[in-house]
């Protein structure tokens, strides 16, 4: 007897079962179809000549010798590619904020930037020729680190600084500062996260072929063929219908493959120019040294607590190295949005800034905002030790519980059904902390250092509708005339097993054997638009679509069967491919018999029922669905060598309805493996000339199977508000893994003190730093040198600061406010232009702001040349904008507080 699935409201037939994956027989017998498996008639191969320097002007490119190599068909530079109009877009489907060339034009901005493309009979020949291309560079000093970015020359000549994006307040609010400084307990946590490589097992790659004047077919390893078609269409300005994108199997993506970047785009353009199919497969050297990396961030979080260990106030300052050409600027706003969402914190402020540098541009990576969980959860443990309170208890006192909801986070995010506190309780019910503490104490007496780490988090998943690129998903389900079921889905798997989980859902809700369901995906000519894998979304949204479509289809079968069998539709059930009438076993019919009639015998159908058995449903779920979790991990640190051994790891997650526990646990395990890598092993080192110095897996250390423990899983199964009750689970492991492990290590090391600055990875050298109280790893010396360098260059930093800072009101200056002003506000969604009309009357001001979206009237106050007023807006969310403008002569500047979004800068001039 199957238990009822709360999110479904019915007994489970396949939902919740560990069925075997439909993908595996193909993948495990070598019959997967990856991009490099594609070979088209007449296909040629590409290789790139890349910049050996991080920054410089291209004086000349001589490709004569390369062209002379037998087997070389063409050598293209930016000048050649310019024949096809192509605009690089971001993940958000808008043009990049700085001009991003496909092949470098007049200058290079990072080591490995593609400068020329060779087309040849084979990759061997293409590489031979690429090495013969002579480029004369005028080298300049690169901006490599975050410290360089703050004081160095602008990476992009069109900008006056290196700030790619900024949110929050440059000057901390006085009341907030007072609240923090006046609190009985304060803790500061700084986390320095290195740059890491994306390292999917299948590197980037594309086969591009122009099939007609306006027809392009792309085999490309990606996260959604639909998104690729949309992106390429926008970049080319071609109608999307002419672009076919196929990606049957994908060997991991993690965010790197959201959309094409410089290399893939160059090959696509070259294929359009050259007319023959072109293939480029990124090799591992290219992947490690030039594929868009992740992270490289530096955050300092301050937290204040009262005497009971309750949160009082917090502030953070956060810098992100975005490289030269990020796939989308990451200003850390998402991290800020979720940093304190699960906790009862009365007051919070932040400053977060994205910086351009002469390094490879950032791409999203599984849990792109993960720093918020890492810094918060490690800071909370630090605080627990400082206050002398159990870390679990500290969280208990501050987490938002189910009984507290609905409520809103400190930044205004509505919370309805998050369950981190409940996950934590479930975790500690299943882990005897007291017994561990006893074991830990005994071990310490023998000179063995055990540690327990606990962390909690929430994760926004299944985003839909809040950002234009994140849409609903479509399920098209049909019962074939044979009675078998075919579904074409807008999903896409990079190892997620969507062909399995969607088949489970369909079989369950339709009442057919799992083996009878086939799911087709991975081709934009099939099914409807869907953004695929990005933001832990497919199980929730496509799962909901599949459930609804299957139920609608079952209703049609029931209506037809009722008509044929002269029964009441309510008495008809479908089970394992058989249609039954309640209480009349002899009337049972197979689904294939019913389907045969539905397609082939229209005369036998009721009048209002069309022929065939097919349904499609596009599901638009709630804008966001939260997943929660609490994890615990036990480690032993070898105090002699600084090595960490993970002894146990328990995951207590709540991803709502679990479609397939094996798939869910696989997702969590994969994320945790990446988390373990980030904490213990992974770092993409960059030297001071901008060279990435780990060019093979001998130097770039990924966690191997020997580094990953057997994880234990607890599932909480609190249904979400979406159809089926699922919550996304793709990214969570990579988000909660790092703080769980760091906390365990910090607990083990607590007899030696606190990890002062948490710089990852926690290599054996860095762990010995703490144990021995000396700088064995050299990290402290490096931090000191950097801090010194920053102190020495205040003038440069000042000069690089963005324009528009509110100047102090200059008394006595003759400034007329009345009239029309052209103003630009810098918001997370881009620059917003408006015209402001002001009329002053003594201490009051009134007027309107006019923008393409419409006019809004305001009234406010005037004090000298400072004008303040509030405006309420509904889009993109309900917030009150607080304007604080200073007028000086013919220019205006100031700040606009955007509610939970921090502050935006505004500048303008008199019209």
């Amino acid at each position: 007897m199957n238990a009822e699935v709360p999110g479904i409201g019915a007994a489970a037939r396949y939902i919740g079962k560990r069925v075997l994956r439909k993908e595996d027989p193909r993948l495990l017998t070598g019959r997967g179809q990856f991009v490099d498996d594609i070979s088209l008639p007449g296909m040629l191969h590409c290789a790139f000549a890349r910049s050996p320097i991080a920054r410089g002007r291209i004086v000349s490119i001589d490709s004569t010798a390369a062209r002379d190599v037998p087997g070389v068909h063409a050598v293209y530079t930016a000048e050649d590619l310019a024949k096809v109009s192509f605009t690089m877009h971001t993940f958000f489907m808008v043009p990049t904020s700085v001009k991003t060339p496909t092949l470098a034009e007049d200058h290079v901005a990072y080591v490995g930037e593609p400068v020329a493309l060779v087309i040849a009979d084979s990759r061997y020949i293409a590489e031979d020729a690429a090495s013969l291309i002579e480029v004369d560079y005028e080298e300049e000093d690169p901006v490599v680190t975050l410290a360089d970015a703050k004081s160095g020359q602008p990476v992009h000549p069109e900008l006056e600084h290196n700030i790619a994006g900024q949110m929050g307040d440059e000057d901390i609010d006085e009341d907030l500062e007072a609240a923090i400084e006046g609190a009985p307990h304060r803790v500061t946590q700084r986390v320095i996260h290195p740059r890491i490589s994306q390292s999917p097992m299948e590197t980037r790659g594309v086969v591009a072929t122009r099939d007609g004047p306006e027809e392009l077919t792309l085999y490309i390893t990606c996260q959604s063929p639909h998104t690729i078609a949309r992106w390429v269409s926008l970049a080319l300005g071609l109608p999307q219908t002419a672009i076919r994108v196929i990606a049957k199997d994908v060997g991991g993506a993690f965010g790197l493959k959201n959309h094409p970047w410089k290399e893939e785009s160059s090959v696509i353009i070259a294929a359009m120019l050259f007319g023959r199919p072109l293939k480029w497969i990124e090799d591992r050297y290219e992947n490690l040294t030039t594929a868009n990396p992740a992270r490289e961030q530096d955050i300092t979080l301050r937290i204040a607590f009262d005497n009971d260990g309750k949160l009082v106030a917090s502030h953070s300052e956060y810098d992100l190295n975005n490289g030269a050409y990020p796939q989308a600027v990451d200003d850390g706003m998402a991290a800020q949005m979720f940093l304190w969402s699960a906790y009862k914190l009365p007051a919070y402020g932040f400053l977060t800034r994205a910086w351009y540098t002469n390094t490879t541009g950032l791409a999203a990576y599984r849990g792109p905002w993960a720093m918020e969980t890492l810094v918060r959860e490690t800071a909370l443990d630090k605080a627990a030790r400082a206050i002398g309170i159990d870390p679990v208890e500290l969280r208990r006192r501050n987490l938002v519980k189910l009984s507290d909801q609905p409520t809103a986070s400190v930044l205004g995010l509505p919370l309805e059904d998050i369950t981190p506190a409940e996950c934590l309780e479930k975790l500690v019910e299943n882990f005897d902390i007291a017994a561990f503490r006893k074991e830990q104490a005994e071990a310490r007496e023998q000179g063995r250092y055990l540690g327990l780490g606990v962390a909690t988090y929430i994760e926004p998943t299944a985003s839909a509708g809040s950002m234009g690129v994140m849409t609903g998903e479509l399920a098209q389900v049909r019962i074939e005339p044979t009675g078998k079921v075919t579904a074409t889905m807008s999903t896409h798997s990079q190892g997620h097993g969507t062909a399995t989980t969607m088949a489970q859902v369909i079989a369950d809700r339709l009442g057919v054997p799992y083996e009878d369901v086939t799911v087709f995906e991975g081709d934009n000519s099939r099914g409807g638009f869907g953004p695929g894998a990005a933001g832990s979304r497919q199980g929730v949204i496509a799962g909901g679509a599949a459930i609804k479509a299957s139920e609608m289809l079952a209703d049609k079968v029931k209506a037809l069967a009722a008509h044929l069998l002269n029964a009441n539709p309510e008495n008809i059930t479908i089970d394992e491919g058989m249609v039954h009438v309640e209480g009349a076993e002899e009337m049972s019919r197979s689904l294939s018999e019913i389907a045969g009639i539905a397609y082939g015998e229209p005369d036998r159908l009721p009048q209002d029922l069309g022929t065939g058995l097919e349904v499609q449903y596009r599901y638009q779920p709630p804008p966001m669905t939260f997943t929660s979790a609490a994890h615990a991990c036990v480690v032993e640190v070898d105090a002699e060598t600084g090595f960490v051994k993970i002894l146990r790891w328990i995951s207590s997650e709540d991803c709502g309805t679990v479609i397939n526990p094996a798939v869910v646990e696989g997702q969590i395990s994969g994320g945790l493996a990446q988390g373990i890598g980030m904490v213990l092993l992974e770092e993409m080192p960059i030297d001071d000339r901008g060279n990435t110095t780990a060019a093979t897996y001998k130097d770039y250390l990924l966690p191997a199977i020997s580094d990953i423990p057997d994880f234990e899983f607890l599932h909480a199964n609190t249904p979400s508000k979406s159809i089926g009750g699922m919550r996304g689970v793709g990214e969570g492991g990579a988000i909660i893994g790092p703080p769980t492990l760091v906390n365990a290590i910090a607990d083990a090391l607590s007899p030696f003190g606190e990890i002062d600055i948490l710089e990852l990875p926690l290599t054996p050298s860095r762990i010995l730093d703490l144990i021995e109280g000396r700088d064995i790893s050299g990290s402290a010396a490096r931090h000191q040198a950097q801090a010194g360098a920053q102190l020495e260059a205040p003038a440069a930093a000042e000069a690089a600061a963005p324009a528009g800072q509110a100047a102090a009101p200059s008394s006595g200056a003759e400034t007329r406010i009345d009239g029309d002003w052209k103003m630009v506000m810098k918001t997370p969604m881009g620059d917003q232009e408006m015209t402001g009309h002001f009329e002053t009357d003594g201490g009051t001001v009134s007027g309107y702001l006019a923008s393409p979206e419409g006019d809004q009237n305001f009234t406010g106050t005037v004090d000298g040349n400072v004008v303040k007023f509030d405006l309420k807006v509904d889009k993109p969310m309900k917030i009150t904008l607080k304007y604080n403008l200073t007028f000086e002569g013919d220019s205006v500047s100031g700040k606009v507080k955007l509610g939970m979004m921090g502050s935006a800068k505004l500048s303008g001039e008199r019209l």
């Binding site: 061997y124 050297y285 060598t641 580094d707």
Partner: protein, 289 residues
């Protein structure tokens, strides 16, 4: 990641191989198990004119007893050596060290001679050869040479092997039955090159150490013989051994450097500890009070 063009020859005899190397005048590279050479070719960090594949020379394979020791043919696969009964009986430390060379998959292809001849300073095989007092036998059209392993290594990936010379055997002298084995390495992941490692053998005779052969790997530009520690140990009674003091002498002979994975200071600090720990455990001696 595709090699630059090269000529490929696969001789079947040692003399034929030596002739190819002599004719190439320095432009040839020898392909043994390919675990290092193939990536270097693919990365174009190595661009030889000729690749001399010695996989088809039967005389380079196999393990045999010879001249009061054990002769290991350079083309013996690491996996075969690991499973070899002669090695297990006479040179158990070789077996222990081999189990740390790469991974199952790479050991199926990688060879003992390839690792010895390459001279990666953090690898197990060169240090083991140095520690045990092995002799490396090489041949060219000019004749043959026998080079003591501790004179063979000049720097990272640099040896006294001339471009026209081929390693034809590694000869390990016998250590008496019942000798004490020393081995420990610290590597970030199983199968990685060591951050620091120590390998060796001790002969204990009547309660005193009568012979010692110990070498470091990952502690300098070459495998490094722990000469001062060896000298201090020989003649010392087990009860009189101060493991900590010997470990300090051992580290005094090293010249580790900083790299992306660990600092020199880490290597010295941890090297000293693993040396002392290994010595104590092997000799079953207690920590000096």
């Amino acid at each position: 990641m595709k090699p630059a063009p090269f000529d490929y020859v696969a001789p079947t005899t040692i003399s034929e191989a030596c002739q190819v190397l002599a004719d190439a005048g320095g432009g040839a590279t020898v392909l043994a198990g390919g675990q290092t050479l193939m990536p270097l070719l693919n990365l174009r960090m190595s661009q030889p004119f000729i690749v001399v594949d010695i996989n088809r020379i039967p005389d380079l394979k196999g393990i045999a007893r010879a001249d009061g020791g054990t002769r290991v043919g350079p083309m013996t696969r690491q996996a075969d050596a690991l499973a070899d009964e002669t090695l297990a009986k006479h040179l158990p430390v070789m077996v222990r060290a081999l189990s740390h060379v790469g991974h199952h998959q790479t050991r199926n292809r990688g060879t003992v001679g390839g690792s010895v001849a390459l001279g990666e300073p953090a690898a197990e095989m060169p240090a083991t050869a140095v520690a045990l007092g092995a002799t490396i036998e090489v041949q060219s059209t000019r004749g043959t040479r026998k080079i003591p392993a501790d004179e063979f290594y000049l720097g990272p990936y640099m040896t006294t092997l001339e471009p026209d010379e081929l390693v034809t055997a590694i000869h390990y002298p016998d250590w008496p039955a019942g000798h004490v084995m020393l081995f420990r390495e610290v590597a970030q992941r199983p199968g990685d090159f060591a951050l620091v490692g120590v390998v060796g053998a001790l002969v204990v005779d009547g309660g005193s150490v009568s012979r010692a052969g110990i070498a470091w790997f990952g502690m300098g530009p070459t495998p490094i013989k722990a000469r001062q520690a060896e000298q201090a140990l020989v003649g010392q009674s087990l009860s009189g051994i101060d493991a900590q003091a010997i470990a300090e002498l051992a580290v005094a002979d090293t010249a580790p450097f900083d790299d992306h994975h660990a600092t020199a200071e880490y290597r010295r600090t941890v090297g000293k500890r693993i040396f002392a720990r290994t010595l104590r455990e092997a000799l079953q001696i207690k920590e000096a009070a």
